[in-house]
């Protein structure tokens, strides 16, 4: 067969090969993102995502969206500009959460016996869907960054509140008031994680009374906008084909 001959003999075979290629790429993308995004999120979000007694209304709300919008922005850049596929953010988050659940269930619970209701991951899917849809409707990186990035930050806390609210019910314990999440952190001993490492409820945001979560979410959304731009450019740069010679294309 010469180089100019096709590798397939019919349109049906071409379609079949194309679909096989789709699934191979999709599987590779999914698992590569699962690994890379998971490591990134564990290193940057870490304990805020691991433990319920870190999931507070100030720092978790602020940090988690900012450090998690990274891979979705980059993968969106590749899948949208190259293929017009508005699934970059959702595929990242679905992959991440599969990896997180495997980790939390097999390692945190199966290996070290921390209860799953103490170490479940944060829910990032609402923000991811909205981010993808905004990119699809607007077709603009700027619009997606500004509107989508802000939505990413704003949807995070309410998207997780139904999951964590039961653990914020107060309890009186030996003369002190705690939430059930605090009590989980106290009861289920983490030898390598002393209480003072826990970064919750710190900061100077003291003029909004008890309603600090929305303010934190807005701040997180603003920073997410900037991070979105940065990682979207990373994604575009990585999706370039400059390194392939023209005659090979």
């Amino acid at each position: 067969m010469s180089a100019s001959q096709s590798a397939v003999r019919s349109r049906a075979e071409a379609v079949q090969v194309s679909r096989t290629f789709d699934w191979m790429i999709l599987f590779t993308l999914f698992t590569a993102v699962l690994g890379g995004y998971h490591i990134h999120y564990m290193l940057t979000g870490g304990d805020w995502d691991f433990w319920t007694d870190w999931k507070d209304r100030r720092l978790w709300v602020t940090v988690a969206p900012i450090v998690s919008i990274t891979f979705p922005a980059a993968v969106q850049a590749c899948l949208w500009w190259r293929y017009r596929l508005p699934i970059g953010a959702t595929i990242c988050v679905v992959a991440l959460m599969l990896g997180e659940w495997i980790n939390r269930y097999l390692n945190f619970w199966g290996w070290t016996y921390f209860p799953v209701n103490f170490c479940f991951p944060s829910n990032l899917i609402p923000g991811a869907i909205v981010l993808d849809v905004i990119l699809m409707l607007g077709g603009s990186m700027t619009l997606t960054a500004v509107v989508g990035g802000l939505a990413w930050g704003l949807l995070f806390y309410p998207g997780n509140w139904p999951i964590i609210a039961p653990l914020h019910v107060p309890v009186e314990y030996n003369g002190m008031m705690m939430t059930l999440a605090d009590l989980q952190g106290y009861h289920y001993v983490r030898t390598g994680t002393p209480e003072y490492i826990r970064m919750v409820e710190k900061g100077t945001l003291r003029t909004f009374g008890k309603d600090v979560a929305p303010v934190s979410a807005f701040f997180s959304g603003f920073v997410s906008i900037i991070i979105y731009f940065l990682w979207h450019f990373f994604g575009k740069w990585f999706a370039k084909t400059d390194f392939i010679a023209d005659d090979e294309l």
Partner: protein, 414 residues
């Protein structure tokens, strides 16, 4: 020949993979906590644990036990370790094999970090409830911000029974009794499964159609706009609006279901009460101290003055939780772990009762394999080659006085 070589290479590679895979299934239980690896000067000159009592050696699931005793915050705290201005009374166990039902310093519950004062002694208690069966090494531990975990003595405790029987009932301030072990777990699974299904639905909507090659060709040919149809847009809007509506509705429903919630509790606890110990009437001056490497023994020349009104004898030297006793003066009956108890490890050149008003210079030798086993001999490699510890003096009636010592240490290699 080449075929044989290739086959050998392939088989070798397969064997390597099989070996690596098999290695993953060998996961022996980690039963210690690195207490021997911690720098010796840190164990000797920070927190001194003593009068420790593990209330039980064996407990059944759901039963409780306590670890209680005292710790002295050494006044000669090393400069290379941050002071215990933010410290946390922890427990050294391999994961939550027990739950910590309570921990107290000076009678105060300490679920949070505390500030400790140098030179003071505190009593403490930790209440543990058995959760997972097995033999576990249970250590006292003080975490110090900027200093790391300072681990105390450990003792083996056996938990019997089945973990499936473990319960952790808690009564909330809203009057509900819950089992914290699996409380709200169904809720966690439900919301994660629901959102995951919605995310998958969005992906399936797109991946069910031809993706990479034909779409890439279309984009390169300038037909990118044709790849998003009006129906795609409508369905996208439905997903986005549905997402926002579901988030808002579920948040509202949650607030109705849980009208009383509070933020996470945090903060530093100051003003922890220490034990008001009378100043000792015995004073000790360390004239010199050497560690004889071949003999695994530390020798000190001490000048001891008894300013009290009763004769005293030196009965114990305690450093880094290793206790060296003079068996003729004091015998331990607390069940202290054998591996860190040298019952006849303390020798004093003249340990006859030191009369009131008398001053005597004596040679004291603390010798035991524990110097090597617990890597205290590594002190000679530390950046600040000093030793420290507690000396306990006893009078005839069994009254005890504690005196701290802190001095440079010179190694002897011959």
């Amino acid at each position: 020949m080449k075929i044989i070589k290739d086959k050998v290479s392939k088989l070798s590679f397969v064997a390597l993979l099989v070996t690596l895979t098999a290695a993953m299934f060998y996961t022996p239980t980690a039963s210690a906590h690195g207490e021997k690896s911690q720098a010796a000067f840190m164990r000797m000159r920070t927190i001194h644990w003593y009068d420790l009592d593990w209330s039980k050696d064996e407990v059944a699931i759901n039963e409780t036990m306590t670890i209680s005793g005292k710790f002295h915050v050494f006044s000669g705290w090393p400069e290379t370790v941050d002071k215990p201005e933010v410290a946390f009374l922890n427990i050294g166990i391999p994961g939550p094999v027990f739950i910590r039902q309570g921990s107290w310093i000076g009678g105060q519950l300490v679920p949070r970090s505390v500030t400790l004062e140098l030179g003071e002694t505190y009593d403490f208690k930790v209440l543990l409830k058995a959760r997972r069966p097995g033999d576990w090494h249970v250590h006292t531990m003080m975490n110090v911000e900027g200093g790391g975990p300072i681990i105390g003595p450990g003792k083996w405790v056996t938990i019997t029974g089945s973990m499936s029987e473990f319960v952790n009932p808690i009564v909330t301030l809203t009057g509900e009794t819950i089992n914290l072990e699996d409380y709200a777990l169904d809720n966690v699974y439900f919301w994660h499964a629901l959102w995951y299904a919605i995310g998958l639905a969005w992906l399936v909507f797109w991946v069910k159609r031809p993706m990479f090659i034909p779409r890439s060709i279309a984009v390169v040919d300038g037909k990118a706009d044709s790849l998003i149809s009006p129906l795609d847009r409508k369905i996208g809007i439905a997903f986005a609006l549905g997402t926002v509506v579901l988030v808002m509705a579920s948040m509202g429903a949650t607030n109705d279901a849980y009208p009383v919630t509070t933020p996470l509790q945090a903060g530093l606890m100051r003003g922890i009460k220490w034990i008001d110990i009378p100043a000792p009437t015995v004073t000790v001056k360390v004239e010199d101290a050497t560690y004889r490497v071949p003999g695994r023994a530390m020798q000190m020349t001490l000048t001891i003055t008894n300013n009290g009104d009763a004769a005293v004898q030196l009965g114990e030297f305690n450093t880094a939780s290793v206790r060296f006793l003079d068996a003729e003066v004091y015998e331990d009956e607390s069940g202290y772990p054998d591996d860190i108890l040298a019952e006849e490890g303390l020798t004093v050149s003249d340990n006859s009762p030191l009369a009131p008003g008398e001053t005597r210079t004596v040679e004291v030798t603390a010798s035991d394999a524990a110097w090597e086993v617990y890597r205290l001999a590594d002190l000679i490699y530390d950046p600040d080659s000093r030793f420290a510890g507690l000396l306990f003096f006893f009078d005839e009636e069994g009254n005890r006085q504690m005196v701290t010592v802190d001095s440079p240490l010179i190694p002897s290699f011959i």
